[in-house]
Symmetry: C2
Subunit: 435 residues, 2 copies
């Protein structure tokens, strides 16, 4: 302990893409690192929608953080919940009353979904940020078909067979496409009273086009590909209400018992912990070197930070950006430890954007090269398998995807957890009516 405590103490909060890349980039032994996360696992969030739609199982895309870092003897992994930071005393406070002192602090705590001031919509429109979110959405989607099969009232049955996805970014597009394939292919022939192919899937986007971060031709392709799969795409229309009966779009009511929220995120409360200015989404406005103004010893990374590149353009909240920020911060810290001049400005290298719509349909925007269709789909799959951690998970995910491709069967069609906790009014009313 004596030898260790003479070293610089680095505390990293959050074992997501930014935090893990920071630790991985920093040379072992350079400092005494403590990584704190409130979950025991790193989660590959870009594939969370595949857990929500029964294609992958949670452990396919989640790894115990301490296992990933097991060979790093200089890293201590703590499962704990951070409640605050005392910047004057340089300690991180934990929910169990403990305190962890730091010389350098890295906050990479990610984002949660945001309902733009309508937090009362959350029980009805589940977002996708955690494993529990994904299994809850999976349960809601799969049990909606089960409820429809038992329902004798045609209007109620239709409401159980209507799925509304709010938000036309990559997650919304991928969810809508996957629900369509689940309904139209996977569940085919398994019900006796309903026809899952009659399910109505509505994708709502308030903006002018889907996938706004992609080139316009790819947005148009995504829309057409979704419509070919039976998804009703509603552009330029904002959801004005989410409740147990569905959504409202302007004056129109869409009756649906299953809503998925993919419309917006807000940063985790790192800004509140620090008491520093944040942008509208709660992200800490950081210096060009990703440190907090006035606190060169505190870095804020990934979805928790509002970062602008050299040309003033906002860096997007996606995994590659978070990884690049983690690696950059590690280089700054390493330079400081070595007494060298630290790099002064983070520069984002846009590696392109990928989104999948369904079987043999994806879009890839590399800037110069743009792809769509089956080639993009195969590349999307290969890229994602490549980015997973560990040979076993790559094999398992590849096996599942090949199986889905060949057989349209999805391997994780489990309804688990509490049944449909999120629509009490509708359920209660309906059951009383029938009882």
């Amino acid at each position: 302990m004596d030898e260790r405590s003479s070293k610089q103490r680095i505390v990293v909060v959050g074992g997501g893409f930014a935090g893990l890349t920071f630790v991985g980039t920093l040379k072992a032994g350079a400092a005494e690192i403590t990584l704190i996360d409130q979950r025991n696992h790193h989660l590959f969030q870009p594939l969370l929608y595949q857990v929500a739609t029964a294609s992958l199982t949670p452990s396919d895309i989640a790894w115990p953080i301490r296992h990933v870092l097991r060979k790093r003897r200089d890293v201590r992994t703590l499962l704990g919940s951070v409640t605050g930071v005392e910047t004057a005393r340089r300690v991180v406070r934990l929910a169990d009353g403990g305190e962890i002192p730091y010389d350098t602090l890295v906050l990479a705590t990610g984002a949660r979904h945001s309902y733009f001031g309508h937090d009362d919509w959350e029980p009805f429109a589940t977002g996708l940020k955690t494993v529990e979110d994904a299994t809850a959405v999976r349960q809601r989607i799969l049990s909606a078909f089960e409820r429809a099969e038992c329902e004798s009232d045609p209007a109620e049955r239709a409401a159980w067979m209507t799925f509304v996805v709010v938000g036309g970014g990559p997650t919304g597009v991928e969810m809508a496409g996957a629900i369509a394939e689940l309904a139209h292919a996977t569940l085919q022939g398994e019900f006796r009273l309903i026809d899952p192919a009659q399910a109505r899937i509505v994708l709502v986007e308030a903006g002018e086009r889907l996938l706004p971060s992609f080139e316009t031709g790819l947005s148009a392709y995504a829309r057409a590909a979704l419509e070919r799969r039976g998804v009703a795409v509603r552009l330029g229309e904002a959801v004005t209400l989410c409740d147990a009966e569905g959504v409202r779009l302007g004056e129109e009511r869409i009756r649906a018992h299953t809503l998925v929220w993919a419309a917006g995120v807000e940063a985790s409360p790192a800004g509140e912990w620090l008491g520093v200015p944040t942008d509208r989404a709660g992200r800490v406005v950081v210096e060009p070197d990703l440190t907090v103004p006035g606190h060169p010893e505190i870095f804020v990374l990934g979805d928790t930070a509002a970062v602008r590149d050299a040309r003033g353009k906002a860096v997007p909240g996606i995994a590659p950006a978070a990884k690049q920020q983690g690696a950059f911060a590690a280089r700054v810290v390493a330079a400081r430890l070595a007494g060298h001049t630290a790099p002064a400005r983070f520069s984002y290298g846009d590696r392109g954007s990928l989104a999948t719509i369904g079987k043999r349909a994806a879009v890839i925007d590399f800037g110069k090269i743009r792809l769509r269709g089956w080639l993009a789909w195969w590349l999307w799959g290969l890229a994602h398998v490549y980015f997973l951690i560990g040979v076993r998970n790559r094999l398992s995910v590849a096996l599942s995807w090949l199986w889905i491709h060949a057989r349209d069967q999805r391997p994780a069609r489990l309804i688990t957890g509490q049944p449909r906790p999120a629509a009490p009014a509708a359920d209660g009313t309906e059951e009383t009516g029938r009882g």
Copy 2:
């Protein structure tokens, strides 16, 4: 519908081994079958302990019932909760107020764990019957090590690193062996303050020996194999208390924050629905042809039934017995439908018992042939892969097992769900003391 409704209506409650085998054995089109289960999946319960110990993922051992039966156009699968049976009107009542009429009723609703009148022990000693049970036990085991890593008080740390398994049947033996391997091999080198190899695993069995249904030599081998793996085996001692602090064995207190209950089961309430005599474990005492006395149109199968073979010996509550009963009942129904004489007496064919203790250590009791050690272990693995449903699950489970065998890594080490809901007193006290 007209053609269907002229047929015999068979209602099967429960999609476990007995119920599914009943449907699978009955020739398609012979009747109009409704299968009701409160879960959407058939669960391979013999491997549930592997989900609880992070070796397999829930979807490895669970299949959507309606997918298994998708080609049986004569079968309607219903996700529903049965609340009662009106034998006079021949209808099954559902929780949503619906009623399903039957001509023949098959009740195969399984068993729950039983605390022998101490239901207040349940929050502290989780049993293993459902997917949720297994992920809850997994969460408790994995987070116990996390809590130990954060704990400064040596006595508390020891309580977090002590695991008590109650019950020395196959599930208890398998759980104790798997926890020992998790602690001594899988988690090796991943913690900085605790040494998981120091974990104390205690297996308590009130009887004279482990695995009482096996030959005595195999029981002795199982005990020695567990002790070699660092499990403390306590025979002839009954648990007299389970609480947040651990267990009491007679006068002795074993402090442990993680208890697993594998000591006893009681039948689901089919006996109450029917209002017929049950044995002490709540099982319906059935006729030799597995029907309910006075109700030849009602069969009770599997763990819900108290069945005796021709020599008066109780048929054990294991998967092969349940499957044989399902197949027998289907033959009785088929014979009745064809106007033939139905077989009058179920006869149990004992195919032997298998249990695994850990890597390269299992016991197999085929009666004439008895095996133990590595050969038994490989046979155990092959047999279980063989009994799984579907090529994909077999590949996935085989992949996981080969991985565990080669690397000692367990693929599903996720802590999910609500954190440690089951020991509020201990957690609360401790945290107040530290805060």
